[in-house]
Amino acid sequence: MGRKLLFDKAHIEGIRYYDVYRANGGYGSAEKALKSMKPEEVLEEVKKSGLRGRGGAGFPTGMKWSFIAKPEGVPRYLVCNADESEPGTFKDRYLMEFIPHLLIEGLLISSYTLGCNSCYIYIRGEYAWIPDILEQAIAEAKKNGWLGKNIQGTGFDLEIYVQRGAGAYICGEETALIESLEGKRGNPRIKPPFPAVKGLWDCPTVVNNVETLAAVVPILRIGGDEYAKYGIGKSTGTKLISACGNINKPGVYEIEMNISVEEFIYSDEYCGGIANGKRLKACIPGGSSVPILPANLLLKTAKGEQRMMTYEGLADGGFATGTMLGSGGFIVLDEDQCIVRNTLTFARFYHHESCGQCSPCREGTGWMKRVLQNIENGKGKMSDIDLLWDIQRKIEGNTICPLGDAAAWPVAAAIRHFRDEFEWHVLHPEEATKRNFGLAHYADPLEIAAPAAV
């Protein structure tokens, strides 16, 4: 069994409530931080832990925190990004629903470290029942002296508020989230200035993902050095992976970042293999925006080594033969799935979610959707495949926020690795509307090029 740091107590009945959480060591990390450590010392532990942002970008959390500006007399804000909207991702939902106090405790320690007295949890609007759970947990924490004025007699004050979004993927982008929190359309801002300098109401602001902030609790409990011993290399600690698609056991798993992709998919501890005895065709391991990989490149890298469930392992080979850990939204496709159709649903998603500020994204996402629709419906031309490639290249890197890239990458990767299937759709339009291309050669062993003789 892999070691757990976030879900180690998730199985305890009633852990959602303060009394049970507290009786099982809850708020121990907050007590340690507030009563015996200076904010700089907490920051040092987080830096030592090597914790990286769990929302998708993987930016070192300690470094992000150290960027926050501290002008005299200006409030600072911590914003918890609970706008979990990346297709395939549903890990934060589980954490907030079942162990809300873990998040509250993480927010308390993080706010203390950053010197914030107000903290906002921005949660996606569709998770409409979760704010009640969080607000109950906040009320319990307040009643027991962990929130409000003069927390546990330390002189530190903190209020946590829950704010619901209203159905806009783009608000997961930190500056769009801040705009939304200010009561505006979720249009991302041009950076710089970064939120650490000019964020919510133009004040210094840190925006972190739910899982990132919750991870601060075990870091304080066991110490940054000990946390860094979990995982491999720069992928320290544990990661929540939400697994879905054609697998036997979909759900949210906490993994130590030292297992292989093969173990994650096939072992009974995690996904339990492909459902209905089918074979693995492809996988999108980090949420819909990361590159899709065919089975043969997913399980082994282009060098023939076992691919690991780490930031570096999944990225091995760059975008040519690798992908990204992203948000941990792990989508598995079996041999019966159609790559064109799957790519079309994501293109439609990004078109729907584009905020419309930047022309390449606003126009390009809709254009890609229409071209993919034609191919899927048997009206595609060979030149459409090159056209798709051309459009995605012109979106990538040409937009204010990363939504453009997120829309471009799935299309690019699908063509890069599954071009045969797109061509088959174009050449056999009749057949393509009746059946799928199947597994084809996508799981065949790769030829490993011998190193060139020097």
């Binding site: 297709p87 549903f90 704010q163 649903t345």
Partner: protein, 161 residues
């Protein structure tokens, strides 16, 4: 107009933000208004919210039109929002949408003649491991099958009576 109880809730929401930043309460207030006033936001409702926050009506319109959860025209008493993005599609959401269309004899975006049901498609709602799924009011209905859809429709009809 909100009841006194709801107006107290409005005050409580506005108090979450620093003085002068009451516009931040806009999205929470639009949610509240949509729940209170028949499941959608009319121009009158939006103007009312603008007056509560002392902002211009256009500031409300531009926000209400941006976010997909706000309905700008009347909807049925029960709105089925069926997710159709990748992970749900892999597990048969297209069949669920077709089934609901036939069963209720409406298309996507339409409402049944009795005003009870509206069918909408939605993009990823964050329940990928429990696909196919839909949002119904405040909650998710997951692992949908035609039988489950039948039961949900029946449940709504009973509740409506």
């Amino acid at each position: 107009m909100f009841s006194e109880e709801k107006l107290n809730k409005v005050k409580e929401i506005i108090a979450r933000y620093p003085a002068g930043k009451q516009k931040s309460a806009l999205i929470p207030l639009l949610h509240l208004a949509q729940e209170e006033f028949g499941g959608w936001l009319s121009a009158e409702t939006m103007d009312y919210v603008a007056s509560l926050l002392q902002i211009k009506p256009i500031e409300v319109y531009e926000v209400a039109t941006f976010y997909s959860m706000f309905n700008l025209k009347p909807v049925g008493k029960y709105v089925f929002e069926v997710c159709q993005t990748g992970p749900c599609m892999l597990l048969g959401s297209d069949n669920i949408i077709d089934y609901i269309k036939k069963k209720l004899d409406i298309g996507v975006g339409e409402t049944t003649k009795d005003g009870l049901f509206t069918l909408k498609t939605a993009e990823c709602l964050g329940a990928c491991g429990y696909a196919p799924m839909m949002q119904l009011g405040k909650h998710f209905r997951e692992h949908l099958t035609p039988e489950k859809v039948d039961a949900i429709i029946e449940e709504c009809r009973v509740k409506a009576n």
